[in-house]
Amino acid sequence: MSFDPEEELRRLLARYDLLCGIVRATWYEWRQAALEFAKPGTNPLDLVKRAWEIVGHDTAQSYFMALRKNSPTFLEDLANLIVMSSRAMGEDAVVIKSDKPNEVFVQWNECPWPEFARRYKADMEEDVQGCDQWFQTVVDDVNKHFGTKVRLETLKAIPRGDPVCLRRLWIEEG
């Protein structure tokens, strides 16, 4: 049976792309429903951060099997996992090595989430702080699991108008 491999892959990619879009849309639709049922005066930002915290715990658990505490590239491996998760969701992210030991950066060159935030009239700050909450939860859980002292800092954020998102990961000494 003859088939066009490009067409097969293209179709799969298109469907996957659509699915990622549906996932993002569903996120904001659930947010809207949750806010409608929430106690009066609920701050959407609190709701969003809590949701990303739950996601973060789940993500961290999936990372535990892939990380080795004694690996000399532990921090870089963690950064690569974050990049992998981001790419799987349609973001364009890369790990940037630092000149300093025990320090790496993750840079997101493209991210589809702010576009969805705009579409669903959500505050852009929710997007930044939601991501921060997710990564912070991942880092906290990784630290608890491995007994490490990984720290995280957000330096740039596309939803705040920066050209890229940039996060610094480092291992605190001592």
């Binding site: 790419r87 349609g90 493209e110």
Partner: protein, 664 residues
């Protein structure tokens, strides 16, 4: 106002001007009710986002004054004003308001500016309906029909009480317009604004007296016209803008016949002039883009003429005075309306009158103005850098204090615009171009198959104006550091544009890897299956060009979508045409390797895909700025502009050129 004096003053002036002989129909007066209008030219209402909280700003007054001055006695319409305190009718963040008497002084400033320039002042009332509620989480309409465009707000159905209030608000706003000194009141009923929402079977699903058959759907419009008439009295002309053809067949909109019923009902209700329009913002069809030939829509005015007796006006792809003059002579329209052409050149009517047609800077229909409006930004114009800066002295071209010898390197839009301004300031300007043709990237962009040749008009205009201003052209001359040293300019402007680059990947040196410009200029052959590497504007043009030649095109772009730098009015149409020709796009993708009969791309999510292809057309650009360092060593004043600074779009190049020209 004494209209007889106004008409006779202008008539005397017209008679001395060649344009009144060349275009006699355009410079004939017309009387509508008590208003005598010296000529047949009208500046159509244009939102500009220059105002704040509904109050007219000095920026808007200066902008309108400039248009009124250029109209040489024609009708100058101000932007549509919204009329309700909640802002349900507000479709643009910087839209002027007329929902309270406190707005009258600002509106009067505009009317006074128009009158001081000898033109007729027209105020437009515009409730934006389903395009409204720009600062609200909703908008209003006759029925809560979901929006097709995500950018628009969810629609809330108006109650009868709200309808009655809205009608009264039209009357009150009209009264404020008259108090502010306007000669004409115009009602907007087009493109998806409230009146058109009531008229259309697409958006009006009501079962009360405001919905149902076309007569009932006209009821809201009729009551608005009657209310406005009551407010303004019998002497003031009421104009209305109405769709002759909605182009909403796919959504169940009105038939063209039903649209003509709306014309007849408007006439019966007492309007004195109808502006014939077509299309909605939600329509799937081109209306004002370059793929629509000039004069195309006149057939709708012809249809309207068969149904109503009131004067007709028309804008929409009717840029040329000869075409408008003929349309009036042929009895198709009575008044020539212009919107974008007067953004591009407010003096178009004056230049027409003076017979200086070669000096008219025509709109290139890029729709940058519209794109900015829909992004809540003040309008700008690609070809007219002064738009929005009319009130700022520092943007005006003034004689230079010290005459300099200026060397402009590169004859693209940035270089030409810079050379023009510098020469108009009195400098000795030499423009060097290494090819035998001016225009830089516009040369390639204008090879597109859907009316893109119109783009080259701005290059021709810049060239003519440069020649008039005394710019000395050095064609077929590649500037070297030796030439700079020999010529000893006081100022060097590097406007050398871009170079197309082939990234180094396995196979990138194969013979079937060619550059986009080579294909567009016929220097490179392409096979049947073509991969276009790069999805910015130049890649899109190459893809369009190839698709119309029957090639199967695949665009590979690193961006989140193809044509991120192309105007939204155009890109969806371009992509539709490419897709209809069997074209494909890979986003977030790049080429990893090139083989004889395929390329391997790394697409989104890191997936590798083999894409069969016979030719790879490279449309990736880098600034061409090798001369900058050498120039800096030889000259104390060096500027880098346009794509040589950073590859961008046409308007960036022209605006760079203008600003740097002012600075020299």
């Amino acid at each position: 106002m004494n209209y007889d004096d106004l008409v006779s003053k202008w008539k005397e002036y017209y008679e001395q001007m060649p344009g009144s002989k060349m275009f006699p129909e355009l410079f004939k007066p017309i009387t509508i009710r008590k208003v005598k209008i010296p000529n047949r030219i009208k500046y159509a209402a244009t939102e500009d986002n220059f105002n704040k909280d509904g109050f007219v700003t000095e920026k808007d007054v200066a902008y309108i004054r400039e248009r009124a001055r250029g109209l040489v006695g024609g009708i100058c319409t101000i932007q549509g004003v919204y009329m309700d305190p909640k802002g349900e009718g507000q479709g643009y963040v910087g839209q002027a308001a007329a929902w309270d008497d406190k707005f009258i002084p600002g509106l009067k400033k505009l009317a006074d500016a128009i009158h001081e320039e000898g033109a007729i002042a027209n105020i437009q009332l515009m409730h934006c309906g389903r395009v409204g509620g720009v600062k609200l989480p909703y908008c209003v309409g006759p029925s809560a029909v979901p929006q097709r465009l995500r950018v628009l707000k969810p629609v809330k159905e108006m109650t009868k009480e709200e309808i009655k209030t809205c009608i009264k608000q039209h009357g009150e706003a009209a009264r404020r317009g008259i108090e502010a000194g306007y000669d004409i009141v115009e009602i907007s009923g087009i493109v998806g604004y409230l009146i058109s929402n009531f008229l259309s079977s697409y958006t009006n699903r009501r079962t009360d007296e405001y919905g149902g058959d076309i007569e009932n759907r006209c009821r809201f419009m009729v009551e608005v016209i009657e209310e406005v008439r009551d407010a303004v009295g019998k002497d003031v002309p009421i104009f209305i803008r109405l769709c002759a053809e909605e182009l909403l067949d796919e959504m169940g909109g009105n038939t063209p016949e039903e649209s003509m019923v709306t014309y007849k009902m408007a006439e019966k209700a007492g309007v004195d002039c109808i502006s014939v329009t077509q299309g909605w913002q939600e329509s799937l069809h081109s209306v004002i883009t370059r793929d629509i030939p000039q004069g195309h829509w006149l057939y709708n005015a012809k249809r309207a003429r068969q149904h109503v007796k009131v004067p007709l006006s028309m804008a929409y792809r009717l840029f040329k005075p000869e075409m408008a003059n003929k349309a009036i002579a042929d009895g198709i329209i009575d008044i020539w309306e212009l919107c974008r052409p007067l953004i591009a050149d407010p003096y178009l009517p004056k230049k027409t009158l003076e017979g200086k047609l070669e000096d008219i800077r025509y709109c290139i229909a890029c729709n940058l103005c519209l794109a900015r409006l829909f992004r809540d930004a003040p309008i700008t114009c690609a070809v007219n850098p002064l738009v929005g800066h009319e009130w700022e002295d520092r943007w005006k071209i003034k004689p230079a204090e010290k005459k300099k010898k200026v060397m402009v390197i590169g004859g693209g839009p940035a270089g030409l615009q810079c050379a023009l301004v510098a020469a108009q300031k009195g400098h000795e300007v030499h423009l060097y171009e290494e090819r035998n043709i001016l225009g830089g990237q516009v040369v390639y962009a204008s090879k597109g198959p859907y009316g893109e040749d119109e783009l080259y008009g701005i290059i021709e205009w810049l060239k003519r104006q440069c020649e008039k201003a005394g710019v000395i052209f050095h064609m077929n001359t590649t500037v070297t550091p030796e030439i700079i040293e020999k010529e000893k300019p006081d100022t060097v402007v590097v406007a050398t544009g871009v170079k197309f680059v082939v990234p180094k990947v396995p196979g990138s040196n194969l013979p079937h890897v060619v550059l986009g410009p080579d294909v567009l200029e016929g220097r490179g052959e392409s096979g049947e299956r073509v991969v276009v590497w790069g999805g910015r504007g130049d890649g899109i043009i190459a893809a369009l060009y190839l698709a119309t030649k029957g090639k199967k095109v695949t665009i590979i772009t690193k961006d989140r979508k193809p044509g991120v730098d192309v105007n939204p009015s155009y890109i969806w149409r371009y992509m539709l045409k490419i897709s209809q020709a069997g074209g494909r796009v890979y986003r977030f993708a790049d080429i990893e390797s090139i083989e004889e009969k395929r390329v391997i791309i790394k697409a989104a999510y890191g997936v590798r895909i083999p894409v069969p292809c016979d030719t790879v057309v490279v449309s990736l650009r880098e600034p061409r700025n090798e001369l900058v360092e050498a120039a800096k060593k030889l000259c104390s004043e060096v500027h880098v502009i346009g794509d040589a600074l950073q590859p961008r779009r046409l308007h960036n190049a022209i605006h760079d050129g203008y600003r740097v020209g002012l600075r020299i």
